[in-house]
């Protein structure tokens, strides 16, 4: 294979589809009750050193409860895949959970600013980084979902992003044109928050799916957190709506308001006040530790976190904001 150019960063995951196939060969296919708690799912499927990917888009439809649990479980040396990752990345940096990251967008919080703590972590030199773009990561997941070792795109051509990636430039066998070969990535575990799931893991998502359909298919294990559980009749009555079928899923955790303080489309808006508190607290490392103790480490459940942040009154406000209802 004639390789025209290649990125210098190491690949964190093996792109061999036959190794992935061997894993998937053994993955159970029966429809069984997969409900468990946040803690059980983290204990079972997210060990130290595993390679993690988070669904949603930064502070939209993110599985906050599992992220908090990962911090409380003091997980270390995780790999991470992040297209636009904002509050999720901020949390994992806060917990010093990360070791090597495939990234397209980190540290930043979109219009909210930049995370001072995540920036400190990323400037410390302790984290191995491989650069990609949002689409490049999407293609990597898509290739894995397709059971092949690479996908092609024209992202990154000509740029330093390519140089600091793990991609290779190849020639099209039909046109001679250059394309970037993007290695498939099968994350060890993906955590995805959805609107509805049945106890088997058949899921509905309303609104944008970001890269979660590819992610659910690429990941070896999938933990679903769901705003609500639904009866399987709700799945079978309209199978067109199913976006993640049960056989991809290993754990189903019911977490109402599970994307808080992030936005959950059609359910509740983001809590900008609380997200601003994060930014403020992060400025001073000492203050930040107290903040984390208060909101995560000394908290025993996601419900308790929701109560700390304002409970039902706050959640009702966020529902109104989402629905664009004034009062």
């Amino acid at each position: 294979m004639n390789i025209i150019e290649e990125g210098r960063s190491p690949l964190f995951m093996d792109p061999d589809p036959d190794k992935a196939r061997e894993f998937f060969r053994g993955k159970p296919r029966a429809m069984t009750d997969k409900r468990m708690t946040e803690k059980e799912s983290v204990d079972k499927f997210i060990p130290d050193g595993c390679y993690l990917a988070i669904g949603g888009f930064g502070a939209n439809r993110i599985p906050t409860a599992i992220l908090h649990e990962i911090l409380r479980a003091r997980r270390r040396n995780l790999g991470f895949l992040g297209h636009t990752s904002t509050h999720d990345f901020q949390l994992l940096c806060a917990g010093n959970c990360l070791k090597k990251v495939d990234v397209a967008y980190i540290i930043g919080l979109e219009a909210r600013g930049l995370s001072p703590n995540a920036r400190r972590v990323m400037e410390s030199g302790k984290i191995e980084v491989c650069e990609w773009t949002n689409y490049a990561l999407c293609v990597r997941l898509r290739a894995a979902a397709e059971g092949v070792s690479f996908g092609i795109a024209r992202s990154m051509l000509g740029t330093d992003t390519l140089k600091m990636s793990g991609a290779k430039v190849i020639e099209c066998p039909f046109t001679g044109k250059h394309f970037v070969a993007l290695p498939a990535v099968w994350p060890d575990v993906a955590v995805i928050h959805v609107h509805e799931s049945d106890i088997y893991g058949n899921c509905h998502i309303r609104g944008i799916s970001v890269a979660d359909l590819e992610l659910a298919r690429a990941a070896k294990r999938v933990i679903i957190t769901a705003e609500r559980l639904v009866d399987s009749y709700a799945i079978r009555i309209n199978p067109t709506r199913t976006v993640i079928p049960f056989y991809l899923v290993d754990a189903v955790v019911e977490v109402p308001f599970g994307s808080y303080p992030g936005n959950m489309a059609y359910e509740y808006f983001s809590d900008e006040e609380h997200l601003a508190q994060w930014l403020k607290a992060e400025k001073d490392p000492g203050e930040f530790q107290k903040f984390l103790d208060k909101y995560i480490y000394n908290v025993s459940s996601f419900e308790e976190y929701l109560e700390l942040c304002g409970g039902i009154k706050k959640l009702k406000e966020l529902r109104k904001l989402e629905a664009l209802v004034d009062n």
Binding site: Y135, A153, I208
Partner: protein, 258 residues
């Protein structure tokens, strides 16, 4: 009541909006690019189709999104899909404009949003490409809104995150990027710059009212080409300012306090 007075951000957004043609597609980020697209839709380009990289298509935006993935980006939208859908739409050549920002820009319109300093020991780490590299690679015409100063407009960016014309004429095509795409306009608080059709170097096309050419030179880390037919940028109209202030950004998140 709207007056002729306006701030720099308002000037930039109003100017940017005018470049968005009716019946075209534009991929935008949050902040000023999104404000410009919303303004264009309400003033000069009612059939502008706004695309968000996380999956939102053509929403009836009730307010400025905070994130390109928040629920506003597909509020009463035409489609709520995913990143693959939106990015491949760009890849196919169906997206006319991209709207980006960046920490550094060089004379060929290359953008750095990754690091200042050495990559492995960065002085400052920025977020990275996100979808910017993809948009700058695939959309036909890339526009950038940025405040102009010497540390931002540099001879060489520390890191080419997203491609402009790379090292000059033909370099995009040589690298394998789609033919005919590239940077189009840079809208700053001082001027509008395009790119010289042959040399692909940044070229001052119009200067905002009250700005002198030497202000531009002093705030640019390289010598831009000066267009032979250099113009004065028309100031925001009363209509533009009114719509921007009252409909696009009534809370003044982007345009700031008066």
């Amino acid at each position: 009541m709207v007056t002729a007075a306006y701030n720099k951000m308002e000037m930039m957004i109003c100017t940017a909006a005018r470049f968005l043609e009716d019946g075209t597609t534009v991929a935008v980020g949050t902040g000023a690019p999104c404000a410009a697209a919303m303004l264009a839709q309400k003033v000069n380009a009612p059939n502008l189709v706004i695309i968000f990289e996380a999956g939102g298509l053509a929403p009836l935006l009730p307010q400025m999104p905070i994130s390109v993935g928040d629920s506003r980006t597909f509020f009463r939208g035409i489609m709520a899909a995913g990143m693959n859908e939106m990015m491949t739409t760009c890849c196919r050549g169906m997206v006319d404009f991209a709207f980006l920002g960046g920490a550094q820009i060089d004379k060929y319109g290359n953008i750095n949003s990754t690091v200042i300093g050495d990559y492995h020991k960065p002085k400052v780490r920025f977020p990275g490409s996100g979808g910017a590299n993809d948009f700058a690679s695939f959309c036909w015409r890339t526009m950038i809104i940025a405040v102009q100063n010497q540390s931002r407009f540099v001879e060489h960016v520390d890191f080419v995150t997203s491609p402009g014309y790379l090292s000059g004429p033909g370099a995009r095509e040589d690298a394998g990027l789609p033919a005919g795409s590239g940077p189009y306009k840079i809208i700053t608080d001082l001027a509008v710059m395009g790119f010289h059709p042959e040399s692909k170097e940044m070229m001052v096309e119009s200067i905002h009212q009250g700005v002198e050419l030497r202000d531009i030179m002093q705030n640019t880390g390289f010598s831009p080409v000066i267009s032979e037919s250099i113009k004065t940028t028309p100031p925001p109209s009363d209509t533009e300012l009114k719509v921007l202030r009252e409909e696009v950004d009534p809370c003044r998140y982007i345009i700031g306090r008066k």
